[in-house]
Amino acid sequence: MQKMIHYVLLVSVSTLLLGNAVIARAQSVELATKAEKVIEVVDKGAKSKKLMPAEKMLPGDEVTYTLTYVNKTAKPAERVVITNPLPRHTRYKEGSAAGEGADITYSVDGGKTFATPDKLTMTVKDKSGQDITRPAAAQDYTHVRWLLRQNVAPGRSGTVRFGAVIL
């Protein structure tokens, strides 16, 4: 048993070294994430939303996650797909996902399948224990996915985002 653990550790260490080596030689697409707090501002009776640093975070607060991708390689990046599981202790903020030039789909089954909101369903038990199928709601989402319709040219960057509410 102990020998097995040693073996696994060795493998993971070597993978890590190898990975570092690869990154050192070739550039990749890079991804960065920013979390910001969404606050509602009322100015002259008009409500608008403003992004603030993610401090004083409490249950019920809304967080916007902004994901920035940049192609650091010398060639176009094809079929760029960004996938973000909903963080634990949060639920998806309905209608919040955005991304220019991206087809946005969602999963309600832990990332196994993805579809647009109109095609997502949940199977739940009714009072008599029978399975019934209902349309999925925002709080059922487990993942958000952005598929970029166009290749990302070398040096080009872009952002996608979504909102989550702290439970």
Partner: protein, 363 residues
């Protein structure tokens, strides 16, 4: 390693259970101190060849929301005058997401009422450990602050003595104020941030504390709350008297006025065959409701009940158990019980009186 972690976890749960035996902890919001990790992954191809996926993460930490509510007793507590150790039950709930301690401050001198209660002889504030709304053996005197876990509530017994010589309907209003003990929290405007003063429910170290909004709206501090409870003097008394009002001799001569100060001589000439008419007077006095008033009288030894002789406020009643409010089912020679149900009687002002009479024959 894992087993020891599990053991430590179980030990912690057991410790929490010991600390907070008097109510249920139920999660409402994400606990203060929780770290929320977000991880995104991007996949792509270069020249038709899949490249290694890249990931990016960011973490935020949940701060402590300080928010407390105290709810009033469901109804006023009826008391006598004088009275002692009368209980009002308040419920204090930590609706924040972290453990917090609260000072409880009773005010017995609220204006606009008729009397001021005084602290109970047994003590003034108790934690209702067994949650039965009654001051009993297992309840503990609260001498310092009250510690509540996130989303935990506690039943608090405010115990008072009631002064003498009050009249029915007099009220004594008391206030229970609760305030978070975190420095600067009580009375602070909602949204106020107390840097580093929050207590995490999970994890270690400190978090910021943020004041929530109270029941009064967005300008009302959620770090404190107060509510009134009321004692009301409502001593209803039910008195019953029973006298012989008439006798009928074996020769058929009826003598009335047997309850007079100086009764006729015939009233005391009780020989076998004499029929005695008893009268029971029920008086309900005070302010309030006497519930389920019922009069019963067993047929005495050496007498026999006279069938269908019960009258209620001089109206005749049958012996059967039926919709009329009197019965003497199976009554006979030293057997049975005269039963008259009066029910709930609400009195305010003049006392209410009901008169019942019935007859027994001396064997």
């Amino acid at each position: 390693m894992f087993a020891s972690l599990l053991r430590a976890g179980l030990a912690l749960l057991a410790a929490l259970a010991l600390l907070y035996p008097w109510s249920t902890v139920y999660a409402l919001g994400t606990a203060a101190g929780t770290t929320i990790n977000n991880n995104a992954t991007a996949t792509y191809s270069i020249g038709g060849v899949p490249a290694p996926p890249v990931s990016s993460g960011v973490s935020i930490r949940v701060d402590e929301l300080i928010n407390v509510r105290v709810t009033a007793p469901v109804s006023a507590t009826a008391v006598n005058t004088p009275d002692s150790n009368k209980v009002l039950v308040f419920t204090v709930t930590n609706i924040g997401n972290g453990p917090e301690s609260f000072n409880l401050t009773p005010n017995l001198s609220v204006g606009g009422d008729q009397f001021n209660p005084t602290p109970g002889t047994a003590g003034q504030l108790f934690l209702d450990v067994n949650n039965n709304g009654v001051l009993d053996g297992g309840d503990t005197l609260i001498s310092a602050s009250l510690a509540l876990a996130a989303n935990q509530s506690a039943s608090i017994l405010l115990v008072s003595n009631i002064p003498s010589s009050r009249i029915n309907g007099d009220q004594g209003v008391v206030t229970l104020a609760v305030a978070a003990t975190t420095a600067g929290a009580a009375g602070a405007t909602p949204g106020t941030v107390l840097i580093g003063l929050g207590t995490p429910a999970v994890g270690v170290g400190s978090v910021d504390a943020v004041i929530g909004a109270g029941p009064g709206g967005p300008a009302d501090s959620g770090a404190d709350d107060s509510v009134n409870g009321t004692y009301v003097v409502a001593n209803v008394t039910v008195t019953v008297s029973k006298v012989i009002i008439a006798v009928t001799s074996p020769f058929g001569v009826t003598t009335t006025g047997c309850n007079a100060g100086v009764p006729p001589v015939a009233c005391t000439a009780l020989v076998p065959g004499t029929i005695i008419q008893y009268e029971v007077t029920v008086t309900i006095a005070g302010t309030g409701t006497a519930q389920g008033v019922q009069v019963t009288d067993n047929v005495p030894a050496n007498t026999t009940y006279v069938g269908n002789s019960i009258r209620f406020n001089t109206a005749t009643r049958t012996d059967a158990v039926d919709p009329d409010n009197a019965s003497c089912a199976g009554c006979g020679n030293a057997v049975g019980t005269v039963t008259v149900l009066i029910g709930d009687v609400t009195v305010a002002g003049a006392p209410i009186t009901h008169v019942i009479d019935y007859k027994f024959t001396i064997n």
